[in-house]
Symmetry: C2
Subunit: 228 residues, 2 copies
């Protein structure tokens, strides 16, 4: 068969999550300029260059298409159904990333005619099998924040405790007991209480915290188990 001579194309796609206490959990999508799925929303991504690593490819595509740079990036899953791209065979390695949404202004570039944040509960129809990728990413995030302290990647370096709680409630999709949650988290010894206070205007001002990253890795090495 002549198709045997064709080589498979390798691409990467990225689900980049951002969080804002007003708008909740969002992710970045770009609007496609070209067919297939012209004008449809899709995950940022593209073909991997011959000599670059997968992570480099993700970061490059994100920069080119949205202007974003992520600190936290993790491989999610590789999608390889033969018909997932109508043009030709494309296997895509999907990643998910976490950023502080406030830090970046999205801008559209290269393949995209637009780039925008969408709340995870109000996504438009997505191109290719990107809805499936998004579903997997959300599920992974939901599970992972319970056993790895990755939530901090979505919050400012300094944050009032209530924001950490609300972040967990949003991602886990359920109410949590404020007091038990705080007790559990503080017991871990990975949060530092800062001298400053935070006020929303009404109510008693709350303490501001910082994630002690180094302390976490030290404790982890000693066998401490993060579990929330």
């Amino acid at each position: 068969m002549s198709a045997g001579k064709n080589k498979i194309n390798l691409s990467v796609d990225a689900v980049v999550f951002g969080y804002d206490k007003e708008t909740g959990l969002s992710l970045t999508l770009i609007k496609r300029k070209n067919p297939p799925f012209q004008h449809a929303w899709a995950l940022p991504g593209g073909l991997v260059k011959y000599a670059e690593s997968l992570e480099t490819a993700v970061q490059r595509e994100l920069r080119e298409e949205t202007g974003i740079q992520v600190n936290y990036l993790e491989q999610l899953y590789t999608y390889g159904a033969p018909d997932r791209d109508p043009r030709n065979r494309v296997v895509s390695v999907a990643y998910y990333g976490l950023i502080r949404q406030s830090q970046y202004q999205l801008y559209a570039a290269s393949d995209a005619s637009d780039a925008q944040w969408f709340n995870v509960d109000q996504l438009p129809n997505l191109a290719f099998d990107h809805q499936q990728i998004v579903d997997t990413a959300i599920l992974r995030l939901k599970n992972k924040i319970t056993y790895e302290p990755i939530g901090f990647e979505l919050l400012d370096q300094k944050f009032p405790f209530i924001q950490l709680l609300t972040l967990y409630e949003t991602i886990r999709g359920k109410k949590l007991d404020r007091r038990n949650f705080k007790k559990k988290f503080l017991q871990l010894g990975i949060l530092e209480e800062l001298p400053e206070k935070h006020s929303e205007g009404k109510g008693r001002p709350g303490a501001v915290y910082r994630f002690k990253k180094k302390a976490y890795f030290d404790l982890k090495e000693k066998g401490m188990i993060f579990e929330v």
Copy 2:
């Protein structure tokens, strides 16, 4: 740059685990016939064809190189370091599979001059980055058996309870309390006790069990959480 014209090669690799109560946890390796890493042991695997799915590619390579067919197959991770293959760029999607070791006789074929089971604690030096893949697979298996009942894929359809215990002890790498383990497992309601007994020759014969797969999925749907 001219390298930009080259396309990345896509391959799959498989870590197939087998278990035997005498020899413990093993995996299949093949001995490479050709360079690079000629005569070294490696994971079964190879290039994905243009029109086949990733899972099909894995099963095909396994059949060709070892004669094995796996029931349980799950994607592990995708390895894409630019220099992982000295010849050219190869990105490999790694899978891990579980089989009833007793069911298959390994035979070497195609690229392999030999195919053999190796105990996971006594592996030879491996070609490419296959040691890293194996490490990841073992870790995944170790974690996964605690929250998915995949251990049964490694046991015979009918098994004495002690074998399930020993399997878990082997994979988790620690002693478990026989009584607590049994209590926990039976409470889940996914094991059926068969009328037959099993005897090793000495001691009281033990009951023989069967994994009620359907019951498990029904219960799972209703929110039951498997956790051992």
